[in-house]
Symmetry: C2
Subunit: 286 residues, 2 copies
């Protein structure tokens, strides 16, 4: 392995990994090296472009901490996250709900809330009533499905982005005997992904906006079924067709219907207007 | 741009970059997205493999500081650095010296030393006398060429890896009227690239060793000529054919010849054995 040039170096690097005893790791690295080298041969980067790339990757790593994951943002904005999601959740069954990106704001084990309860702790905004049912993909209700929900406030911020002492706009529910779930919240807003790091700079330099359409996140977990990570988007949002992370699917869009004051679906008497959407989820047997 | 799946997402991401006014940046990102997505479609990573990749890249960035550049190590060990070097310095002229990787230990503006001087400050080791000349690619001498040299000590460590108050085993020379350069140093040793970070872990998991064959680095700068970044390797080194960063070329290998005590080529009287190599460099007009 000497005298390597642009034509023979790829085979030489692949050969160096030939002793790897983890076959899956070997497959991944061989494929990575081949595609990465093909990319470089195609664009023929100058030394200074290579330096820029090294600096970009370094800053992206250094931007990460407990509250921020800039490499996930990079994966999201290059369509990598959605591609990996698509490769893992290919389904042609219209009864099974579609998945989309997890995003960086999920927190495990959110506060448990009873069916129909409110999760709008420490926030103000237009009330939103969300309800639906969960079925097994054949239409039969699934009982005791764990549903985690999380969302931004009406200004586009998640609780973890604000200095709060406790959770807000995130909770865990459980479906009842008829597979139903329901909760009160506030209407989320569209929001920009964080733009003060290298990924924001990339979007700016390439003329891309950083916005995501308004949505509510859901994660559904039931024994014997694949965990479903998804989002429900607001019909009419200006960013539905240009989501910065490529996550919108028609089956996940619902009208967040504006309702007049008066009696809500759960019997609550509303003194002003509010919004309402229903979403039924179908899970896939694992 | 909705309902993206494994087949149509690549075109959608490329389209999002269509408004980029920097044509070169647009070309690079379009190529990157295409090759990156092809890689992912080929290996179909699981969600947990994706998470592992995000964590690996994050740790690689977080390992970097003033003294350490883990992303350059990653580039080196995947053959990327040498491929970029090859793409930028393709030459078939045997009179022009070949280039190789800069490495992470170069320090700009090293101490100036007169021709024939010693650079083995604060180190011990087997003496090594290095000499040669620099020509214009047609054989005519080049005068006043700036030559930066740097190397490891006899245990494989560079000055910046040790806690020294001043430079050691790095210096700047200038060629004389006949294009000559010469200096005294100590014989460098083969050494492992730093293995205490994510790149070292990758090498370990894949059964690769981290060693580089013993070498002396050179950077030659002359007006009207391309800057030459290269290394001269020791013939007989056990790692010549498995350099962890893929940098060895036959034209860059020289015998570090063991010489008996007595009068050295520059007239110095040596009380014990020492080593000696000559290397003539040919530069390429820019």
């Amino acid at each position: 392995m000497r005298n390597l040039n642009a034509d023979n170096i790829t085979a030489a690097v692949v050969e160096e990994f030939s002793g790897c005893e983890d076959e899956r790791l070997k497959t991944i690295l061989n494929s990575l090296v081949s595609h990465l080298h093909s990319f470089l041969r195609e664009i023929e980067p100058s030394q200074s472009e290579w330096t820029t790339a090294i600096e970009f990757l370094t800053k992206t790593g250094q931007m990460c901490d407990d509250q921020r994951q800039e490499f996930i943002l990079l994966s999201d904005t290059l369509g990598v996250t959605m591609l990996v999601d698509a490769l893992n959740h290919q389904t042609s069954d219209p009864m099974v709900s579609e998945s989309t990106v997890l995003g960086p704001f999920y927190v495990a084990n959110p506060p448990k809330v009873d069916q129909g309860g409110a999760i709008d702790w420490n926030v103000e905004g237009e009330p939103l009533y969300v309800e639906g049912r969960v079925h097994d993909g054949a239409g039969d209700p699934l009982v005791n499905v764990v549903i985690d929900v999380w969302q931004s406030d009406s200004e586009g911020f998640y609780d973890v982005q604000k200095e709060l002492d406790s959770a807000s706009l995130r909770a865990r529910f459980s479906t009842d005997e008829q597979g139903r779930y329901a909760f009160w919240t506030v209407t989320p807003a569209p929001y920009p992904i964080p733009t003060d790091g290298p990924v924001g700079k990339m979007l700016e330099l390439t003329g891309r906006h950083p916005y995501r359409p308004a949505h509510v996140h859901f994660m559904l977990m039931a024994e014997g079924y694949e965990t479903l990570v998804t989002q429900v988007f607001a019909e009419g949002d200006p960013y539905l067709d240009s989501d910065a992370v490529f996550g919108v699917k028609d089956s996940l869009v619902r009208e967040f219907q504006l309702m007049p004051s008066g009696q809500a679906p759960d019997g609550r008497n509303m003194s002003g207007p509010y919004r309402h959407f229903k979403y039924d989820f179908g899970l896939k047997a694992s």
